[in-house]
């Protein structure tokens, strides 16, 4: 699979990245390498191998529905660049 400029720009846009013109080529090359690497798996012979869900054979890892309330808001907000009244303060989001 070959990646083109348009796709790189689309991915950059989704990731909220602004690419300079001279960066495009570099990203395209890097992404192509990743795709080529991942493509290896397409060449593995999977005859007689059943369908799997997920990355390992483990399943049904569940938790009981029991409350553990930590109540450490101060701690949780500690690294926020800006906060107010117990909330993260962010640039105004226009609806």
């Amino acid at each position: 699979m070959q990646i083109n400029d348009e796709e790189v720009l689309h991915i950059a846009k989704l990731a909220r990245l602004k690419l300079k013109d001279d960066e495009l080529e570099n990203y395209k090359k890097n992404l192509q390498e990743i795709l080529d690497f991942a493509d290896t798996i397409n060449h593995v012979n999977t005859d007689n191998i059943g369908e799997t869900i997920g990355i390992n054979e483990n399943y049904n890892v569940f938790r009981k529905d029991e409350i553990h309330q930590e109540n450490n808001r101060e701690e949780l907000l500690k690294n926020a660049p800006s906060q107010d009244e117990g909330m993260f303060r962010i640039p105004k989001v226009i609806n």
């Binding site: 909220r16 399943y59 105004k92 989001v93």
Partner: protein, 480 residues
């Protein structure tokens, strides 16, 4: 081409918050409200290095919801990441389900406008996490993120585009709400956002089978807005088509105040969620036995309850339909009927006065502030003749404003019905003296005049006189 030559096609994506005690992937409480960011932990705040673990009750509740809506249950299922940036979504992806939902191919029956039953197909039900809440202040200082709701479990119920009018959409949504209330997987409180819908609307010429281009309105959380928005949007689309324009597929925002829809997202910003399996979570595999056990535990569903009410209590189809339309109604009905042994009176109160008051307040049945016990007592007090029906209505108003036991209300307000013969006779004689014209009318053969006199007596006693006794005594006195 006239309006009648078009039909509206509606599909709903209903989001329903599950009433588990804890969030879907961490042990924080799901309780509504609370000080901002106090129902949070490093997991639901998306701190680096944290890992989600699925709440077993979420799977159970979703399977319950699937079985109650006649879905097939997937034995193999998984969670996927839906990627998008928005400040209420701290991980920048929502854990949801993409190609292997827990439940699929279901259906519910609704009452269509022509009085017939109509089947609405359910495409799928999947589990996912809710986002947080953004608060804005008036001074433009920014937006404020509260993540108490982030990670609250949701089921999303996707219908096929089988709905053909705003009324059918409302009826379908009410049916889902009733079912989920009955099986107790959600409290379905629309005002608190625990039930909300994305509404897809398109129009097409009657007789055609191809779908028109649809628009979507997200996060609608009242029946009234949904009905208004569908009607407005269908009319708007028809007008566009009639004017020779094309409908653009887009997300719209419904504005309740102006009663119009507006484009919401930048059209260039086409959605591309890049779903992929969440590598932090493992597969969900459900055995036949697990599914069978949940099936066995399902409580009586609204349709079955309705049939039982008609059979056991001789309620009319209409009354039984109404009472079973919400678990909040039928719970009150059950308790009040048990207490008063008068199911018809109880259903009448629910259908007429209680529904009217809720309607005036623009509230749903979950907001009824008094108990079935209270309503049962009210019916009893009327049946025993302690209070009249019209005082009963005043007691009901009081129950809504300041709920306490009806016998206490009438005692405090001095509303006990006057059934003392001497006291009633006094009133009757006075009314007769003051209304010679009505007396003359009665004597001239106009029996209706008694009704007027009884009305006057009720007015004078502020509704407290026993109306049957009044009626009887007026006739006796007038015949003298």
């Amino acid at each position: 081409m006239p309006r009648e030559d078009y039909e509206t096609v509606i599909g709903l994506e209903v989001h329903c918050e599950l009433s588990t005690k804890t969030k879907i992937f961490c042990s924080c409480p799901t309780e509504f409200g609370g000080e901002p960011n106090t129902h949070c932990c490093p997991i639901c705040m998306a701190m680096p290095g944290t890992l989600p673990v699925l709440n077993e009750k979420v799977v159970e509740y979703a399977v319950k919801a699937g079985l109650a809506t006649n879905c097939k249950i997937a034995q193999n299922s998984k969670n996927d990441r839906k990627n998008y940036f928005y400040p209420d979504l701290p991980k920048a992806y929502q854990i949801s389900q993409y190609d292997m939902p827990l439940c699929y191919e279901g259906k519910v029956e609704i009452d269509a406008e022509n009085g017939e039953k109509k089947t609405i197909r359910i495409t799928r039900i999947h589990i996912e996490e809710d986002a947080g809440k953004l608060n804005h202040d008036e001074y433009g200082r920014g937006s404020f993120v509260d993540l108490n709701r982030a990670g609250v479990p949701l089921i999303e119920v996707v219908s096929e585009p089988d709905l053909r009018s705003a009324e059918e959409a409302e009826s379908y949504l009410r049916k889902l709400k009733a079912i989920f209330e009955y099986i107790q997987v959600s409290d379905c409180k629309m005002q608190e956002g625990s039930l909300r819908a994305d509404v897809n609307v398109s129009v097409r010429k009657k007789g055609t089978t191809e779908f028109g281009t649809r628009t979507e309105m997200k996060n609608m959380n009242s029946f009234r807005s949904i009905v208004r928005a569908i009607k407005y949007e269908a009319d708007r689309q028809i007008e566009e088509i009639e004017n020779g324009n094309k409908i653009t597929q887009e997300t719209l925002r419904w504005d309740d105040i102006s009663g119009k829809t507006f484009p919401m997202r930048d059209k260039e910003d086409a959605q591309d969620y890049r779903y992929f399996p969440d590598p932090d979570l493992v597969a969900i595999k459900l055995s036949d036995e697990y599914i069978e056990n949940i099936k066995k535990e399902l409580p009586e569903l609204p349709e079955i309850k309705k049939a039982r009410y008609i059979k056991d209590f001789e309620l009319s189809e209409k009354a039984a339909n109404f009472v079973t339309s919400s678990k909040y109604y039928s719970d009150i009905f059950d308790v009040a009927t048990e207490k008063s042994n008068n199911p018809k009176a109880v259903s009448n109160w629910l259908m007429s006065d209680i529904a009217r008051i809720l309607n005036e307040k623009e509230e749903e049945a979950d907001k009824i502030p008094f108990t079935g016990e209270d309503l049962g007592e009210l019916v009893q007090l009327i049946d025993k003749g302690t209070i009249s029906n019209s005082i009963g209505k005043k007691v009901l108003d009081e129950l809504f404003e300041n709920p306490k036991s009806p016998s206490k209300i009438i005692e405090e307000k001095g509303w006990v019905q006057i059934s003392d013969e001497g006291a009633i006779k006094e009133v009757v004689l006075r009314i007769i003296e003051n209304n010679p014209q009505s007396v003359a009318d009665y004597k001239a053969g106009k029996d209706k005049a008694v009704g007027f006199l009884v009305g006057q007596a009720m007015k004078e006693t502020k509704g407290k006189a026993n109306p049957q006794m009044l009626n009887q005594m007026f006739i006796e006195e007038l015949k003298k």
